[in-house]
Structure formats: C-alpha cells, structure tokens
C-alpha cells in the first residue's frame, strides 16, 4: 500500500515539475519567439520582392526598418478593391484577401506579395509569392515554415528551388490564367517548350511535395486572380479608381 502511494506521489510531483518548467519556458519566452517569427516573416516578404539578398546576414532592426519603409499591408476583395482596415475581420476569408504592396522611392508599386499557406506532404507549407506589378510575372517565392522531409521535400526551402520561380509567368501566351506548377524533374526535360514559363524545376524524390505545392499555388492564385487581373489592366483600372494605393502617383 505504502509503495503505491509513493508511486502516485512521485508521479504527481514529477508531472508538476515538468509542467511548471514547460509552462514557464513557453510563456516566458513567448514574446521573444514571437518577435523572431515576425522578423523572419518580414524577411521572407522582403526576400520575395528582392529587397533582401540570401547571401547576407541582416539584423532584426535592418529588416524592420526596410519593411516599414517599403512594404504596406492591405486587404482587398476579389476584384482588387481595397477594403478599409476598419471593415476587415482580421482573418483571411473568401472575400478578404491580404496582400503586401512593395512601393519604391518614387511611390510606384513594384510588386505585390501574396501570402501562401497550403497543404504539404506532412504538414502546412507557409510562404510568400511576389508578383510584379504587371500582374503576371513572378518576382520571387519564399517559404518560411514547413514540415517536409529534410533533404527531399525539405529542399523547397533551398535557394535553388526558390530562385527557380523568379521571372516565371502565371499566365499563358494568350494572356489566360494558368498558374505556376512544379514539374517532375527538370522543367526543360518534361515540359513542352511553350509551357515552360509556367513550370519550375521539381525536386527528385519529392514528387508529392511538388504536387501539393502546385495544387495549393493554383488554388491561392485562382482566388487572387481578380486582384492580378486588376494589376494587369492597371492603366484602365486607374482611370476610374484614382484613390487606390497603386494608382496614386
């Protein structure tokens, strides 16, 4: 009897100690962790529009300063009209699409960044896809969080894979929407020449990750297509909507 009580007591005390330690670490460090994550996300957004180079280290302050100067967050609806921040629900929904605008020194919009959250093989893949202000050309693609297999699907976080996207198109030769897809193996070997602008090189041993990423990008780009169309027709659009941020000169 005394033996069972001792066991019970031991396990209760052990649970309390472990629980306290974990809670203390988790809540005590939360603020710093959150800060790190925000900086990392901002860095990814900057990288997707080419403001941050991959071969250099940046301090958190540098990232924050550049981000606050050049990038602004907007919520738009499916036709590309800006929804005032007071009317947004905060979360992403069918009708509220968050985008990040990259404005250069001359107050010209250079690119817009679409947040990516899509299914991967083992878990969600989070990143950013930046499109130039022509609404068709990819300016950059980054991934900041995923749980794919290291060395296989995990290669999506590598520079060579992400650089692949730069300069590719989300529209076909006729101007129709086709999205961007990950090819099986090298795009040059497996895709007919006229389709190559819409394909990036795949990763050997990670066919499924590529498939999920292709699917996810297509879904997300489809829901943002209205916004992209607006960018593609900017000149005409701006004649009637002078107050939209990317039309203001």
């Amino acid at each position: 009897m005394s033996e069972s009580i001792r066991t019970l007591l031991f396990s209760v005390v052990l649970c309390l100690i472990c629980g306290t330690l974990l809670t203390a670490a988790s809540s005590g460090l939360k603020e710093i962790q959150q800060k790190n994550m925000t900086i990392d996300q901002r860095k990814n957004i900057l990288q997707s529009v080419g403001l941050v180079k991959t071969d250099r280290q940046y301090t958190g302050d540098e990232i924050n300063r550049t981000f606050e100067q050049k990038i602004s967050r907007l919520v738009v609806d499916q036709t590309g009209s800006v929804i005032p921040s007071s009317e947004t629900g905060g979360a992403k929904s069918e009708t509220e699409l968050p985008i990040y605008l990259y404005t250069n020194e001359d107050k010209q919009v250079e690119a817009y960044v679409i947040p990516i959250d899509t299914r991967g093989l083992w878990g969600k893949i989070y990143g950013y896809l930046a499109l130039k202000s022509d609404g068709a050309t990819i300016s950059g693609f980054t991934i900041y969080k995923h749980s794919e297999t290291p060395g296989l699907g995990g290669e999506i976080e590598q520079n060579w894979f992400q650089r692949n996207f730069v300069g590719k198109k989300i529209i076909g030769p006729e101007g129709e929407f086709v999205s961007i897809a990950v090819a099986k193996g090298k795009a040059d070997d497996s895709v007919p020449k006229d389709r190559r602008p819409n394909y990036v090189d795949g990763i050997s041993g990670a066919t499924l990750t590529g498939k999920f990423l292709t699917q996810g990008l297509k879904e997300i780009l489809t829901s943002y297509e209205g916004v992209s169309v607006t960018f593609r027709n900017t000149k005409e659009y701006c004649k009637t909507n002078k107050e939209t941020p990317w039309c203001r000169k």
Partner: protein, 209 residues
C-alpha cells in the same frame, strides 16, 4: 604503454568507447534506424541531427541517473519519457527564442529525437544502474557512435545521390558530360537500409566475428 593501458581500463573510457564501436547503437544494437533513414540524404542534416541527439542523450541519461534512487520501478519508463520529452522541449523553446536560425533547421528533428529508441534505451539499460558522470559519458559515446554511422551513410548517399558534399558539387561537369548520372535511388529511404546493412557487414568483418 602503461598509461595507455590505464586509460583504456578506466570506467569512463569504457563507457565512452564501448558504444562508439563494440556496442554501436545502430550497427550492433539496431536502434534508431528510423531516424537514420530520414536524415541521411545530406551530410548537413545528418550532422545537425547527430549533435542534437548527442546533447539530448547525454543530458537525459545524466538526469535519469541522478534520480535513479527515487524513481519507483513500476513507473520508471513513464518517468524516463517525461524527463526526455521535457528536456527536449525546453531546449527547443530556448533555441526558438535565442537561436532562431538554428531552431528552424532543427524543427523536424526535435520530434524525431524524442521518439528515438536510443535515448530511452540508454536511460533504461545504463543510466538507471550507473552514477551520473558515467551515464553522461555513456550518452556522449552513444551520440558519437550514432553520429559516426549517420555521417558515413549521409556521405555515401549525398555523394552518389546528388554528386555533392555539404551541398557543394564535387563530381565535375565533365564527368556528367561523359554520360555519368546521379543515382536517384540513393535519395530514397531503401538506399539507407542497404548502406547500413553493408556497414554492419563491414564492422563484423573488421571485428573478426
């Protein structure tokens, strides 16, 4: 010669050297194979995994050993698991706060470390019946033995599978131009099985069994 013999006979030396070679966790005890398959596609991930694993097994063995006299026998495995998991998560939380880049690389390994049979195996087989300093050294030895196999396998897989070492191309373009192709099979999990099998064979031959 005499001093060499003395070192070899100390308990600490034995606790370290034994798991590195004669009682290697992977090639002799066949533990931790699952993670050895997953992280040996590239040298870099194999090394990160080996280091984190060494860290965890050394400190968890030490903690279990410190508590070995008060752990009730009937719930000892639960206790070991609670200690290991707590240590790993604590380390992960600290890394995420102060070494964010390293923690990003480790992300997936953290889960793999907790489930690694070697950690539990050493706690159960060694730490429960030995003093803390020996348990710590035994943990280091097991980490080194595990890491040695991982790095060897990763070296072969990365070289033959992608023609690279640490992500740098080592097989020259001219060889590819002459018709050489990377062995895609090396990137898949079964290749690690075959290499580990060959290593076990090699070790048995060298050990003269």
């Amino acid at each position: 010669m005499v001093s060499k013999m003395k070192i070899r006979n100390t308990k600490i030396y034995k606790a370290f050297a034994n798991p590195v070679w004669g009682n290697n966790p992977i090639s002799i005890q066949m533990l931790g194979i699952c993670s050895a398959l997953a992280v040996t596609v590239q040298l870099k991930t194999a090394i990160v995994m080996s280091l984190s694993m060494t860290f965890v097994v050394a400190f968890s063995s030490m903690t279990v050993s410190l508590m070995r006299k008060i752990i009730p026998r009937n719930i000892r495995i639960l206790t070991e698991l609670a200690i290991i998991a707590t240590l790993v998560i604590l380390a992960d939380e600290f890394l995420r706060a102060y070494f964010y880049d390293i923690s990003k690389q480790l992300s997936i390994f953290v889960g793999l470390i907790i489930t690694n049979c070697i950690v539990m195996g050493r706690a159960e087989a060694f730490a429960l019946s030995n003093p803390p300093h020996l348990a710590f050294v035994d943990g280091l030895g097991n980490g080194a033995g595990y890491g040695g196999v991982l790095v060897t396998v990763a070296f072969i897989r990365e070289l033959l599978g992608s023609g690279k070492i640490f992500g740098f191309r080592v097989i020259p373009e001219s060889v590819y131009a002459a018709g050489y192709e990377d062995m895609g099979f090396m990137l898949l999990a079964p290749a690690a099985f075959i290499i580990i099998g060959l290593l076990v064979w090699l070790q048995k031959v060298l050990a003269g069994e």
